[in-house]
């Protein structure tokens, strides 16, 4: 690829600008998702970080998508699929005998963000999100 110095600078600038904008959940997620999060948190503010969500980047079939989540110090973790007809997926509850981590397999109606919100033992909340591409196969057969 041949880029002029000016184009390269412009491109670089664009990349920097984009990366500086934090992900704004209030704008990124659907109303239904926001409502579910509000029910879960009771309206409390939700931080970022301290929670890890593992999903495939590309799911071979949206019917069975393996995911796992972990948030040290959490008592509950809610999983939401922002692009599904109903965003709710599952909410895990951990006692002090359980490590705050879990894995399951979920249905995704299409390419979308999967969101995890953790409730900590001290009553605070934190969240993260991962984009999953759901492919439409050539051979649904």
């Amino acid at each position: 690829m041949n880029l002029s110095r000016r184009q390269a600078l412009a491109l670089g600038g664009a990349v920097v600008t984009v990366s500086l904008i934090p992900i704004d959940f209030a704008k990124a997620a659907s109303d239904a998702t926001m409502a579910d999060i509000k029910t879960f948190t009771g309206g409390a503010s939700v931080a970022e970080g301290g929670i890890e969500l593992t999903t495939p980047e590309i799911a071979e079939n949206g019917n069975t998508v393996p995911i796992s989540v972990s948030a040290p110090g959490a008592v509950s973790i809610m999983i939401l699929a922002d692009g599904n007809p109903n965003p709710g997926v599952a909410t895990f509850h951990f006692s002090d005998m359980a490590e705050p981590s879990a894995a399951t397999r979920i249905r995704l109606a299409g390419t979308q963000n999967v969101i995890a919100v953790a409730k900590m033992a001290d009553g605070s909340f934190t969240q993260t999100s991962r984009s999953v591409k759901v492919t439409i196969g050539g051979c649904g057969g």
Binding site: N63, T64, V65, S68, A81, N84, P85, N86, G88, V89, A90, T91, F92, H93, F94, S95, M97, A98, E99, S101, A102, A103, T104, R105, I106, R107, L108
Partner: protein, 109 residues
């Protein structure tokens, strides 16, 4: 529909206070309520397992509130620790009120 039968995988013996992995699987269609009957065009009513719970010697360990977006034949994996031997009991609750149960004993050693 075939008989609903849970499967669980738990180590037979564990070290006290150390985390071990528990895997569970149960055969269930998890009818989402979103699908339509191809012949009649009518929506197939929702019928899912809506709750899963694991308890150790009667005390809660791990539970899940489940929605239709959990896949057919729901799978849950979690990690737990115990200080003494005992009974790890599992329970799945169906929309129709059926409860499916199984249990494993855990030894320390």
């Amino acid at each position: 529909m075939a008989k609903i039968k849970p499967r669980v995988k738990v180590p037979k013996s564990v070290a006290a206070g150390e985390y071990f992995t528990v895997k569970t699987l149960i055969n269930h269609k998890m009818e989402s309520g979103q699908r339509k009957d191809k012949k009649t065009g009518k929506k197939i009513p929702r019928k899912i397992i809506n709750y899963f719970e694991a308890t150790f010697n009667g005390k809660p360990v791990f539970s899940v509130d489940i929605q239709p977006a959990v896949s057919s034949n729901p799978f849950f994996q979690f990690s737990m620790k115990v200080e003494e031997a005992g009974k790890l009991a599992f329970k799945w609750v169906d929309d129709d009120g059926s409860v499916y149960e199984t249990a494993k004993s855990i030894k320390i050693g």
